[in-house]
């Protein structure tokens, strides 16, 4: 890129930044009161969880979170549409393999813990799902080309699990008269946990599959990086 042009853009962007800073400063001077904080905290006891962020994510603004899962799904479907996955990495050396052997279970365990604890302390489905995904990443780095994921058919079910459970519960609640995604009093806690569990699995599988970066290869064992790409739908 032209040096002068990039300098010019720099100056313009800097001007924009100064303007934004000025506006932001004046904004802070306006007193918006409590914003949504007090309300969110006030009604926390009814939400079924005691971690306010989880309450917002899965109760007050659960609709956003449902769509967020859809975004994640869209990204993975997009990645899959681009072709089969590339072969993975060389199998890990013994030292790394030994480490993988205990890092992966630890990540999965920690994920489970984060999921459970998310109801009342920092943590929740996304963090937990990310750890599951990280376990997949580590597996692939260690030479497991499929990142430890099951067959394509299974993966397809798992990646829709989160949004599926979420929206079905939402619709069921609408059908039973509570309203879409409006949990009946007292039932919120376990419904949220159910949704979070499904979401965690879906997020974990989706992130790991996104890292694999292509449609999964079918030939399960023996998994050879050079095996022809078998495609169940393409065969017919």
């Amino acid at each position: 890129m032209n040096r002068d042009l990039s300098l010019l853009i720099g100056i313009l962007v800097a001007l924009l930044a100064v303007l934004l800073l000025g506006v932001f400063h004046s904004t802070l001077a306006l007193d918006p009161g409590q914003r949504l904080a007090s309300l969110a905290l006030e009604r926390l006891p009814e939400s079924g969880v005691s971690n306010p962020v989880t309450a917002v994510l899965l109760n007050y603004r659960a609709y956003d979170t449902l769509l967020e899962l859809a975004v994640l799904l869209a990204a993975l479907l997009g990645i899959w549409s681009l072709g089969p996955a590339r072969p993975g990495f060389q199998p890990a050396g013994p030292a790394l393999a030994a480490m993988v052997d205990w890092v992966v279970p630890l990540a999965i365990l920690t994920g489970g813990y984060l999921l459970w604890v998310g109801g009342h302390a920092p943590g929740g489905a996304f963090q937990a799902g990310a750890l599951l995904g990280a376990a997949g990443v580590i597996l692939r780095l260690a030479g497991n080309a499929g990142a430890g994921l099951p067959s394509e058919a299974w993966q397809r079910w798992l990646i829709v699990l989160g949004a599926g459970v979420f929206s079905l519960i939402g619709l069921l609640l609408a059908l039973t008269g509570y309203g879409f995604l409006s949990y009946p009093p007292g039932q919120a806690k376990w419904l949220i946990l159910l949704i979070e569990t499904a979401a965690t699995i879906a997020i974990g599988v989706t992130l790991a599959a996104a890292y694999v970066g292509g449609r999964p290869q079918m030939a399960q064992p023996p998994r050879s990086p050079l095996a022809p790409m078998a495609d169940p739908e393409a065969k017919r």
Partner: protein
């Protein structure tokens, strides 16, 4: 319970997307079922809005401002009806288009996610929820656009994705400023609280700029032609007819609803001027385009320009029946373009499939051997030009009247020049259909694919051009009675 039905046009395609993902073998069947149900729910909702007042619901049972609002007024319902009918047409067409191809497998879930996001945008009443919807829209659109897998398509859609992200970021920063100042994200609550200030002005600029990028408003349109021209035909139709409309809808919503009391004549003039640039530049490039689908894509750039010409007129027109007419005409223009451009792209896809290419100068035989397809292009084309009878003719008539009545005659020059250029590029294509090729045996050659295209094109002409009244009724306007 009735208000819960607001969620159906969003939840049904989402469920469809999940099912088609999980059960790829029967994806086309599931996809068509989901599409039909989605369309029906959208139309039913439109009927509800028509019959009564605007519908709204706050999800989660927490009320505002804690929960997320979903709402349908006349404006939302008009666009929802468009997305329902056009979406159904695209879905039926896609079954035939992708038959026997592996790409169809990927098409269905992504297309249904795209539809989810579209309806989600039209029905959203919450600024942050809109951000999530826009991202879902952008991601699924870019993924769909790259489905042909050709190098050009992938490169163009990668650029589209990045541009969309940039737009979202700009929009989101505006939302952050608004939340900082006003402490809520709900559009109806905000519209009561927002007052003219540097902050409000900055947010409106940030949000409008981000959305204008997504709506491909000149000169931010550079990403659109290659992305739309290289996608598979049903996807091109969805992108050009529907997706850019979502961003435009949002700008219209923000300007006329949320920021109604802080927009100024100068700002509206700038939007109008950019729209004028879009009309002239887009039409000119469409005239010079070598490929049919590229022509259609540039035509979208121009048509988006017409929509933005309404802003200075709306700003200058005092509230009253005349302004209502302008507003309704703006919506009519957007909806008509949705039908016309979808029909055009679907037909162009058939021509391309039949001829093996879509270079305009070599299309003669292909166009002449497919009367129904050529007819669709002609009908859609006359709606793009704005010839009567078509929805855009009525819209242009009202727009020109508004220009006279507000004394902004200079826009007329733009409208007229754009119309003539549009006629030139449409007839450049149509003239290819008159050659000395053998006579085709019958009108329709491939019913499953040709009829959706024909019906969409016909709707833009006959339905919207001869019975545009329902748009006024939906928006709750009486119309000028003289």
């Amino acid at each position: 319970m009735t208000t819960d039905s607001l969620i159906l046009p969003i939840a049904l395609p989402l469920l469809g997307a999940l099912l088609t993902t999980a059960l790829p073998r029967i994806a086309p069947l599931l996809g068509v079922i989901a599409a039909t149900l989605t369309a029906l729910s959208g139309l039913w909702l439109t009927g509800q809005v028509w019959g009564g007042d605007a519908l709204n619901i706050v999800l989660g049972g927490w009320g505002l401002p804690l929960g997320i609002g979903v709402a349908a007024d006349g404006l939302s319902a008009s666009l929802l009806a468009m997305s329902s009918l056009v979406g159904l047409g695209i879905s039926v067409y896609a079954v035939g288009y992708f038959a026997g191809s592996d790409r169809g497998l990927h098409f269905w879930p992504l297309w249904l996610l795209l539809w989810t996001a579209l309806n989600g945008v039209f029905l959203a009443a919450d600024l942050f929820n809109l951000y999530v919807m826009l991202e879902l829209l952008g991601l699924s659109a870019a993924a769909l656009g790259a489905l042909t897998g050709s190098r050009e398509a992938v490169a163009a859609n990668l650029r589209y994705l990045l541009v969309g992200l940039l737009g979202s970021m700009s929009y989101l920063l505006g939302v952050a400023l608004i939340y900082t100042a006003y402490g809520t994200l709900d559009i109806s609550l905000l519209s009561e609280r927002i007052e003219p200030s540097a902050l409000a002005a900055t947010s409106v600029v940030l949000m409008t700029a981000g959305l204008a990028l997504k709506a491909a408003l000149f000169p931010l349109h550079f990403w659109l032609p290659p992305a739309h021209a290289n996608a598979p035909a049903p996807v091109s139709a969805a992108l050009s007819a529907l997706v850019v409309k979502a961003a435009f809808y949002l700008i219209l919503r923000l300007w006329t609803d949320l920021f109604a009391n802080i927009t100024t004549t100068g700002a509206a003039f700038i939007l109008g001027a950019l729209g004028a640039g879009a009309i002239l530049w887009g039409s000119w490039r469409a005239l010079r385009a070598e490929r049919l689908k590229l022509l259609a894509a540039y035509s979208t750039v121009a048509q988006i320009g017409y929509l933005f010409l309404f802003f200075p007129l709306l700003q200058a027109m005092p509230p009253g029946p005349a302004r209502d007419d302008l507003f309704a005409a703006c919506v009519l223009m957007a909806v008509t373009h949705g039908f016309a451009k979808a029909g055009f792209f679907l037909a162009a896809g058939l021509v391309q499939k039949n001829a093996g290419h879509d270079r305009i100068d070599e299309l003669g035989g292909a166009a002449q051997s497919m009367p129904a397809t050529t007819f669709s292009i002609a009908l859609a084309g006359s709606a793009l030009i704005g010839l009567p009878p078509s929805g855009s003719f009525i819209a242009k008539w009202v727009m020109m009247r508004g220009a006279f009545e507000t004394g902004q005659w200079w826009w007329l020059i733009v409208i007229v020049t754009g119309t003539l250029l549009a006629a030139a590029y449409i007839f450049r294509v149509l003239s290819r259909a008159f050659g000395q090729e053998p006579t085709p045996r019958c009108f329709v050659t491939d019913a499953r694919a040709e009829i959706p295209a024909l019906l969409l094109a016909l709707s833009s002409v006959a339905l919207l051009g001869l019975a545009a009244g329902p748009i006024w009724s939906l928006l709750g306007f009486e119309g000028v009675q003289t």
